[in-house]
Amino acid sequence: MSGISVEQLRSSIAAALELVREGESAVTAAGEKLSAARAALAAATQGSNHQTVTGSQAALAHAEQTLDETLAATQAATEQAETYAATL
C-alpha cells in the first residue's frame, strides 16, 4: 500500500470531482450554444438540399449527441467515485 491516508484519498477524489463538475458546466454551456447554432443554421439554410448543408446539419446533430454522451459518462463516473468515497 502507498502511504496515502483515507482523508487524503477522500480529498483527492473530492478535488477531482470538482474538476468534473467544472467540465460538466462547460459542456452544458456548450450544449446551449450548440442548440442555438443548430437552429440558426437550420433557419439560414432552409430549403437547401445541398450536400454540404445536410452534412453540416448532420455534424451538428452528431455533436449534440456526443455532448449528451459526455454528460452521461461524467455522471456515471461521479456516481462511482462518490460511492467509493462513501465506503472509505
Binding site: 483527492s12 462547460a26 455534424a59 454522451e69
Partner: protein, 264 residues
C-alpha cells in the same frame, strides 16, 4: 455588401458561434480530473471511474471534430454558391431572416487567381490551370518556397492551387503560427508583442506578396494567438485569399527565429 456577402457573413457567424471554446474548456477539466483520479484510485480496484471519464473525453473530442467539420462544410457550401472565403467574419450577426442563397455573379476559381495576381503584383497567370493537390502537400510546398524566398514558386503554387483547397490553408497555418510564436517568444505573445514583430513579418511577406495589405500579417498572428482583431472573410473573397496566402510565409519566418526560453 451584396446580399450574397451578407448571407455568407451570416453563415460564418453561425460557425464562429459554435461552442468550441466551451468544449475545449470542458475537455481540459475532464482530462485533469481523469489524471487526478487515475492516481487517487490506482489501488482501489475502481478502473471504471477512470474509463468513464476517458469515454467522456472521447465524446467531447468527437464534438470538437464535428465543429471543425461544420466549418469546412459551410466553406464548401459558400464556394459552391460562388462566395468562397475563410471561416470567420467580423460582420455582426444579422437577423435570422437572412436572404436565401442566390447564385453569385462570378462563380468559379478566377476570383482566387485574380487576387493572387494582385497580391504578387503580376497580372500573368490569371488563367492558369488548377493543379490537383492536397491541402497538406500544398501547405508544405508553400512553406518550403517561403523559407527559400522563392517568389516564383510561391506564386505558381498559389495560382495553380484549387481555391477550395487553398482557402483551407489557415486551418493548418494558424495552429503552427500559434505554437511557433509561443516557442520563439518564450510564451504566448500578447498583441503588443505581435506588433513588435510587425516589421520583420511585413518585410519577409512583401518579398513574396508585394501588394499584401498592411494589416494582414499582424491580423493572422493575432488570430492564431487568440487575440481579438480583424478577421478574414468579412470583406469578401479578397480577404480570404490574403489570409490563406500569408500563413505559410509566417510559418517559415517564425520557424527561422531561434526559440527563447519559456517565461515563468
Amino acid at each position: 455588401m451584396t446580399d450574397v456577402q451578407t448571407y455568407a457573413a451570416h453563415l460564418r457567424n453561425i460557425v464562429d458561434s459554435l461552442p468550441e471554446a466551451e468544449a475545449r474548456r470542458g475537455l481540459d477539466r475532464l482530462r485533469k480530473a481523469q489524471s487526478a483520479l487515475t492516481v487517487a484510485l490506482r489501488e482501489s480496484h475502481r478502473p471504471e471511474v477512470v474509463k468513464d471519464l476517458g469515454r467522456a473525453c472521447e465524446s467531447l473530442e468527437t464534438a470538437i471534430r464535428q465543429f471543425a467539420a461544420v466549418g469546412t462544410a459551410v466553406d464548401d457550401y459558400l464556394l459552391a454558391i460562388g462566395v468562397g472565403g475563410a471561416s470567420t467574419s467580423a460582420v455582426p450577426l444579422p437577423a435570422a431572416d437572412a436572404p436565401a442563397p442566390v447564385a453569385a455573379t462570378e462563380p468559379g476559381p478566377n476570383w482566387w487567381r485574380r487576387r493572387v495576381c494582385e497580391l504578387t503584383d503580376d497580372a500573368s497567370g490569371a488563367d492558369a490551370k488548377s493543379d490537383p493537390v492536397g491541402i497538406t502537400d500544398l501547405f508544405t510546398r508553400l512553406v518550403d518556397a517561403a523559407r527559400r524566398d522563392d517568389r516564383t514558386t510561391y506564386r505558381r503554387l498559389l495560382l495553380t492551387a484549387p481555391p477550395e483547397v487553398a482557402v483551407r490553408l489557415p486551418g493548418l497555418a494558424l495552429p503552427m503560427i500559434r505554437n511557433l510564436a509561443s516557442d520563439r517568444h518564450g510564451g504566448l505573445p500578447t498583441q503588443r508583442d505581435v506588433d513588435r514583430l510587425r516589421s520583420t513579418l511585413d518585410t519577409r511577406a512583401r518579398r513574396l506578396l508585394p501588394r499584401l495589405p498592411d494589416h494582414v500579417t499582424v491580423d493572422q498572428v493575432n488570430a492564431a494567438c487568440g487575440h481579438a482583431g480583424r478577421k478574414a472573410g468579412g470583406a469578401g473573397d479578397t480577404a480570404a485569399v490574403d489570409f490563406a496566402a500569408i500563413g505559410p510565409i509566417l510559418v517559415a519566418v517564425l520557424h527561422a527565429i531561434p526559440p527563447r526560453p519559456k517565461s515563468s
